[in-house]
Symmetry: C2
Amino acid sequence: MKKVNEIQHFLQEQQVDAAFITTPDNVFYLSGFASEPHERLLGVMVFKEAEPFVICPLMEVPDVKAVGWSYEVVGHEDTEDAWEVVLSTVKKREVPLNSIAIEKSHLTVERLERMDEIFDKVQFTNLDDQLNRMRVIKDEEELNNLRKAAELADYAVEVGCREIAEGKTELEILMAIEFEMKKKGVQKMAFDTMVLSGPKTASPHGIPGDRKVQKGDFILFDLGVVYNGYCSDITRTVAFGEPSDEQRKIYETVKLAEQTAVDKVRPGIQAKELDKAARDVISDAGYGEYFTHRLGHGLGISVHEYPSVTGTNDLVLEEGMVFTIEPGIYNPDVTGVRIEDDVVVTADGVEVLTKFPKELKIIEA
Amino acid sequence: MKKVNEIQHFLQEQQVDAAFITTPDNVFYLSGFASEPHERLLGVMVFKEAEPFVICPLMEVPDVKAVGWSYEVVGHEDTEDAWEVVLSTVKKREVPLNSIAIEKSHLTVERLERMDEIFDKVQFTNLDDQLNRMRVIKDEEELNNLRKAAELADYAVEVGCREIAEGKTELEILMAIEFEMKKKGVQKMAFDTMVLSGPKTASPHGIPGDRKVQKGDFILFDLGVVYNGYCSDITRTVAFGEPSDEQRKIYETVKLAEQTAVDKVRPGIQAKELDKAARDVISDAGYGEYFTHRLGHGLGISVHEYPSVTGTNDLVLEEGMVFTIEPGIYNPDVTGVRIEDDVVVTADGVEVLTKFPKELKIIEA
């Protein structure tokens, strides 16, 4: 319950009476309880000076207790107004409630209006920055989960490479990867696994399909797993058969751009410097127009989380931050290539979690 | 673009200047463009009296055009403030903008605050009811997608039954199902496939794992696929080996409850009457306390959508509505059983989309 206590300290410091957290990821972060409640209400209420509680669908009450949440758990039935249950639970605390911190980047307008209605004359403040500040710095337990998630992702790429063969479809390769992951105990991929081949590699958000891999293709894997609630996210691009000179040049440019950014990671530099470092390499090689997205994104409980690694983010890196570095070149006339690693900012530099080799791998066709 | 026109007519009728739609499901519904933009801005802006536009990440502009969106598409780069792009695009329309309809049940407080900032003195009204009213009535094209999605779900249960054998784990059965679905061209399951066995069937939201199926188990499948953007959602519970009398009684009670509710479906009755019909059967059999959730939920582009089929929803059913009927009994001392069908309200009754038989299936152990 260390993280709930941290929220409580924040409330005391800021003189805010309570915080109400309802996004599944943050509920998991604070309570250890992972659930996708859909439109049902699931939340953690933390008070400046009272016992916190979890509100959840009635049928999940035992599950919340089972993960070790040691404070009150309040269930609501589908036929009840969950907000009335929140209100009556809050009232029992007998503490003043003039201000509530909320997740403005996630809470819906409808829910805010509902809270505004049930809590008379309450001021709403923003909890996002505090949650971001907490979540962006991973503790050792979180890092271990991320390491393990990355190790599984490395293995998934290995499986994918092994599966490449003339006549196999992207989907067949994809399913072989996911089946092997399930066998390793992975319950959830971090996002839809991507296996793209040939011209489809040039679409940064392409969808795997029935296309059969062919000699001369580049094949792009973008995948990740969830391990103990933490995500990995790796991209590797490999060649099926001998690549052309232009394919090689694109690959080596992306590889250099990626490594250049990775090598710059250390406490004290700004996120945007990483983006620039990679982008400069790609622009200098003449492919600037084909690198159409940001360099990377924060990684943790969510596969895309704070911070965004863009050319405009002047966030100063600190020890314990984890994010992806994933430059790409998408030239529809030649090929797409993306290389992506998950990295941790360490006391004096960088730890790269994903370890699948980045030298151009040529699979015999 | 029929659905965009319908929103425009609504705006004209209500005298609201514009509508801004940002949830991926509604963007797909209106534009045909399916995408998960994560924290990036993706939206459809519709005007009372001007050309609508889609705003999306720059790299997705070609994809929006490819699905047949015939109006303007505006891209924004990661380094730009997407809201400034919205503002400048709106300004070019040269129409008054005093009111904007938004999705209050989805739009975040942060985005509302941003809109409030960029659009000077704009009033925000709620578009949710209109979108619900539109989406809840499925047209023939949508129904065909739902039928096909249900057919694939039927087949998935069949595959699951075939895979049951002494010593196999829940996850192995699950992967065999998903692999077969991919082979059938399914790109996405509608939600995490559930294969639960033995005591785990008594948890309505259990997680499949390494448990090996055993003689005497009930095995519960809850799964669905996405077909052309539309979801199915089926649950069947089967016996592995001869069931006990109490297991049988629970099964037959759920089956009768489910069928009783299905048989009541027709235009003019209220959603809550269905919930009551099923609940009464279960209560009369003495299992009332073990039916801990609502009867069902709307089904379409989202796997859980409007309307909720609860004991308190007095919504009057109309032709073209699609929802699930899924009573369950979760008795931790005996077994859990849930049976779920996807149904359409027809002009004079009901069409059941999911067709896998509901007689208790006993798989030889």
